[in-house]
């Protein structure tokens, strides 16, 4: 990447001097615009909702209905959309919408209890009707688009974004099939929503009745020509299917938030320009620690590769595979020692 060359030694030619003159006019017009430019109005995106129904969808799986206290209409969504749900502890978790997009009065989510998770699912399972919750979104990170045919693959609770897709495909009269996998029949929640549409298009595949988990090739067997594959489930399943889908077939999967920091060591970051010192905890990223004191710091991919959050290092040594020499990728890098001083 060549981002560091200096334009100082370059003499602008005639065309560039002409462009500079035009740009100077724009810059002058900008200064005239200042007088009547309206103030930037804050836009509030938080939706204050109430849990209006709690039901057991399957063992360990709870289904919630969320609506406005007034019963008024909610922002529209498309199959594959998810919500950010702010839990009572302040944790934010993302859950796919599994209801009917035509029902504008409520959002439905379904959550499996993960006893060994970070605690978000336990909190959801403790919610009772009448509890207020704040949600943000909906956001479409797993869009359903038209295709000649569809193969939907769901692993366990991964059925949640898939179910509205199946309904939409069926409503359009598309050629679709669904394979729902899980450890046993009890871990195949919500599938009646699909079998009720057309049982001949649904294959419920519990591992315990089929001699273990499926190979990706089993899931893709008989893939119709031109079919798009939509997959949601545990990451190893998505990864295996992704590798097995033949070239030329569209493969769609839900994007995951960056993986949690595991086995990290705490360290200290000094932000030289701001004169601030922040502590990066063992289980948190440098970016999150910096954002706590500098919320406007630029970042994007959160995986190290895009370069947006790479900041010049003044002292200390960052440790990771993404930082260019003399820079630190805030989103993924940690300190080799105890302290790094940044030009920030």
């Amino acid at each position: 990447m060549n981002g560091s060359r200096d334009a100082a030694g370059v003499r602008p030619d005639r065309m560039m001097r002409g462009i500079d003159a035009v740009v100077a006019v724009s810059a002058r017009l900008a200064q005239r615009s200042v007088r009547r430019r309206p103030a930037v109005a804050a836009v509030h995106r938080d939706l204050a909702l109430v849990v209006t129904e709690v039901r057991d969808e399957a063992p360990e799986v709870v289904g919630l209905r969320l609506a406005r206290g007034s019963g008024g209409p909610l922002p529209p969504w498309h199959p594959g959309a998810h919500l950010d749900v702010v839990l009572p502890s302040g944790r934010v978790r993302q859950y796919s919408l599994c209801g009917d997009p035509a029902d504008r009065t409520a959002y439905r989510i379904a959550v499996r209890r993960l006893a060994d998770g970070a605690g978000g699912s336990m909190e959801v399972h403790a919610l009772r009707p009448g509890t207020p919750v704040v949600v943000r979104g909906p956001r479409t990170a797993f869009p359903l688009v038209s295709a000649p045919a569809y193969l939907f693959l769901a692993g366990g609770i991964g059925i949640t974004p898939i179910l509205p897709m199946v309904r939409a495909a069926a409503a359009r009269g598309a050629d679709w099939r669904l394979v729902h996998t899980g450890r046993d029949r009890a871990s195949l929640p919500l599938s009646p929503g699909a079998t009720d549409l057309d049982p001949t298009r649904v294959w419920l595949r519990p591992d315990d009745e089929n001699g273990g988990p499926p190979a990706a090739a089993d899931l893709l067997a008989g893939l119709p020509g031109g079919a798009a594959v939509y997959c949601c489930g545990p990451p190893p399943m998505i990864d295996a299917v992704r590798r097995a889908v033949p070239a030329g077939h569209a493969f769609h999967a839900e994007r995951f938030s960056p993986p949690p920091v595991l086995g990290g060591r705490p360290f200290t970051l000094e932000l030289a320009r701001r004169g601030r010192v922040v502590e990066v905890p063992a289980d948190g990223s440098a970016l999150d620690a910096v954002r706590a004191v500098a919320p406007d710091v630029a970042f994007s991919c959160r995986q190290g590769f895009c370069g947006t959050c790479h900041v010049r290092v003044l002292e200390g040594e960052p440790a990771d595979g993404h930082s260019a020499p003399g820079k630190m990728a805030l989103c993924v890098a940690r300190a080799a020692g105890d302290r790094v001083v940044l030009d920030l």
Binding site: N2, A7, S33, P38, V40, H78, T140, A141, P143, I238
Partner: protein, 300 residues
């Protein structure tokens, strides 16, 4: 407080706005022929201008939008802007890869690239302004970006739909780069417009930005084609009829479509979601070899 939905939003069967994220794409240029549209030097060079012009321009977008982040008072827009920044950073890096390949092949592009760099780093930099005046110049440059992004979205949709490129024997890695880039341009086509609408939004200010943006972009393009044709193994000069012929065959965008696209931008009720198809972009990204490999890399 403003309405939560932008003026142009509709509830169609498929989403027009999707969550934006950068993709960790990589391309291997080792097998790239000089004329990667076989037998079509003119069309090849028209599209090769992208590699000379865009990296500096996209890095400029990244700096500009990073500077604008503190002004944003809408969390959803801030999220879109962050996605936009990462995508543009990857576009810059990917076109830079082709430029580096040109250099390795012995084509010195610095006479062109240095001038473009001067434009983005001097003429279009902060111009020594500070405080409120610097902020107003930032908003003006976002209006310029929105105008350019309307054209890049048009070009992105064009390359996704250009069936002639499928039958012309185009080098598959280059076609994938162009369509991956085009698809992301279509995916994020509303971001610069929505950012301008959030910070100012007045029609005249939006429309007047197209007046310098379109001619400058066109002028730089012509200059790039002239440069590349002059350095072709068989040097030549660009002629209008070469463009007319390439456009007629569907290998480059045409003058009529481009002019119409520019004029569209001047409509008072314009919103980027009214043009282009997010579904086409999403469908391409789901089959793109580079995007598929990038997702596998992220997951792995």
């Amino acid at each position: 407080m403003r309405s939560a939905e932008p003026a142009g939003s509709r509830i169609g069967p498929e989403p027009e706005r999707v969550a934006l994220h950068a993709r960790d794409v990589q391309f291997d240029w080792s097998g790239l022929p000089v004329h990667w549209i076989p037998g079509e030097p003119f069309a090849t060079h028209v599209l090769d201008v992208l590699h000379l012009l865009l990296p500096e321009g996209e890095r400029w977008f990244v700096r500009l939008f990073s500077e604008a982040l503190p002004l944003i008072r809408d969390p959803r827009l801030a999220e879109d802007v962050r996605g936009f920044i990462g995508q543009e950073a990857m576009h810059a890096a990917s076109h830079q890869g082709v430029l580096d390949h040109f250099a390795a092949r012995g084509l010195d592009t610095s006479p062109y690239v240095d001038q473009v760099e001067w434009m983005f780093r001097r003429a279009l930099d902060d111009r020594g302004l500070t405080g409120r005046r610097a902020q107003e110049w930032l908003v003006e440059r976002i209006a310029l970006t929105a105008a350019v992004e309307h054209i890049t979205a048009y070009l992105g949709q064009w390359v996704l739909d250009a069936r002639a490129l499928d039958t012309a024997g185009v080098h598959p890695v280059m076609l994938d780069l162009l369509r991956w880039h085009g698809a992301e341009e279509v995916e994020h086509r509303a971001v610069a417009h929505d950012l301008f609408a959030h910070l100012d939004g007045r029609y005249l200010r939006r429309a007047r930005a197209m007046l310098p943006a379109a001619p400058i972009l066109f002028g730089l393009w012509v200059r790039g084609v002239r440069f590349l044709l002059a350095h072709d193994p068989v040097p030549a000069k660009p002629r209008l009829r070469d463009w007319a012929r390439a456009a007629r065959r569907g290998l480059t965008p045409g003058i009529v479509g481009l002019t119409r696209a520019v004029l569209t931008y001047l409509r008072p009720g314009y919103h980027p979601s009214q043009y282009g198809s997010t579904s086409t972009a999403v469908a391409y990204l789901a089959t793109s070899p580079a995007a598929r490999a990038a997702e596998a890399r992220s997951a792995g």
